[in-house]
Symmetry: C2
Subunit: 209 residues, 2 copies
């Protein structure tokens, strides 16, 4: 990185910032300068927020969403209908769906999509955990709410579709209704960036696979 | 910030990240998720780099560039011709000019531009410090190298031009040659993002004001 003339602490900060996704060298330089120049408390607050988040945030034991206890607030909420589970790629997608106010079931966060092209195998995501979760819930005498329906709300990209197909194949066998969010979403779109209307429509118009 | 469903440590991290320039809420969410999910050491390294940079980096006593000692490496470098000073807005601009390999004098970093529209007064930048620096260097018996020329290399924006004019007026009186980088740069362009050829040309083609 050609930042000769900068002291080593600045070079190190630029290097660490440019490891973040979507942050190139010039943006990293701009962010580093902001952190050096502006209110010292802001810089300290950010550093502490990073350390605290790493320390406190865990994945929910049930849905693998973000939690600060063993079970996340959404899984602990008894008013939600846990017989219907919405499957998403990442935590931000849960927020996107919650914002529509059109879904009141449970979630399952995959933390990745099956992608033979990018070399991501199902085992590197929480896909198998979902299959186990459904299986367990349907066993005689299970304490968990029996899962009756799975909504596959992965992005409508090649990887999102492939993951949905893989899950549909494995979960339908368990006697569960499996649906895919309606293709009211633009093809190739990222779930996280969809507007609320499109996303709400896609959930209500889901089709049985 | 509508991030209900996220634990408080995650909400706090997103909030702190979105205080950074050019980082909106969605990018902040993406960065926060990356920091939570990827290698723990990367997150800790970033936090430490922020704290270390705040602790170690100071503004050079002479040029106000970034330094980890009282005087920055460029001002300490005796091989550079300190009779000619290149005036820039921010530390990243020093790097941009150093990259051209076409300038071997000293610098002065203003940390802001005079902008009546944005309500930034000259006193909020290091403009007066430059005038004092030139004045002192030209006093009889001064230990500093006598400054003979000032190159005004602020961006070719309204604020950059206004600052250059303000400085030209105040420094010319002191008997110093004042020049402006040639308008080989595209009008309205930000110095930091100029390509090396354009910037090199602009420096060599500077015009006396």
């Amino acid at each position: 990185m050609p930042t000769y003339g900068f002291p080593s602490a600045m070079r190190r900060l630029i290097l660490e910032l440019s490891k973040l996704p979507t942050i190139g060298e010039k943006t990293a330089m701009r962010l580093a300068y902001h952190l050096i120049k502006e209110d010292e408390r802001d810089a300290a607050d950010l550093a502490m927020a990073i350390l605290e988040a790493r320390k406190k945030i865990v994945f929910c034991r049930i849905c693998f969403g973000l939690a600060d206890e063993e079970v996340c607030p959404l899984c602990s909420d008894r008013s939600r209908d846990k017989s219907i589970i919405c499957v998403v790629e990442k935590p931000a997608d849960v927020i996107a769906i919650e914002r529509t106010n059109g879904f009141h079931g449970g979630y399952h966060v995959l933390h990745g999509l099956w992608s033979p092209l990018k070399g991501v195998r199902p085992e590197e995501t929480k896909i198998n955990e979902l299959i186990n979760r459904v299986q367990k819930s349907r066993e005689r005498g299970s304490k968990e709410t029996r899962i009756e329906e799975i909504i596959l709300a992965t992005s409508t990209t090649v990887e999102g579709d492939a993951t949905a197909m893989y899950l549909a194949k494995n979960v339908t066998e368990l006697g569960v209704t499996v649906s895919r969010i309606a293709q009211g979403m633009p093809k190739g779109g990222e779930l996280e960036y969809a507007d609320q209307g499109t996303l709400s429509h896609a959930i209500s118009g889901r089709l049985k696979i």
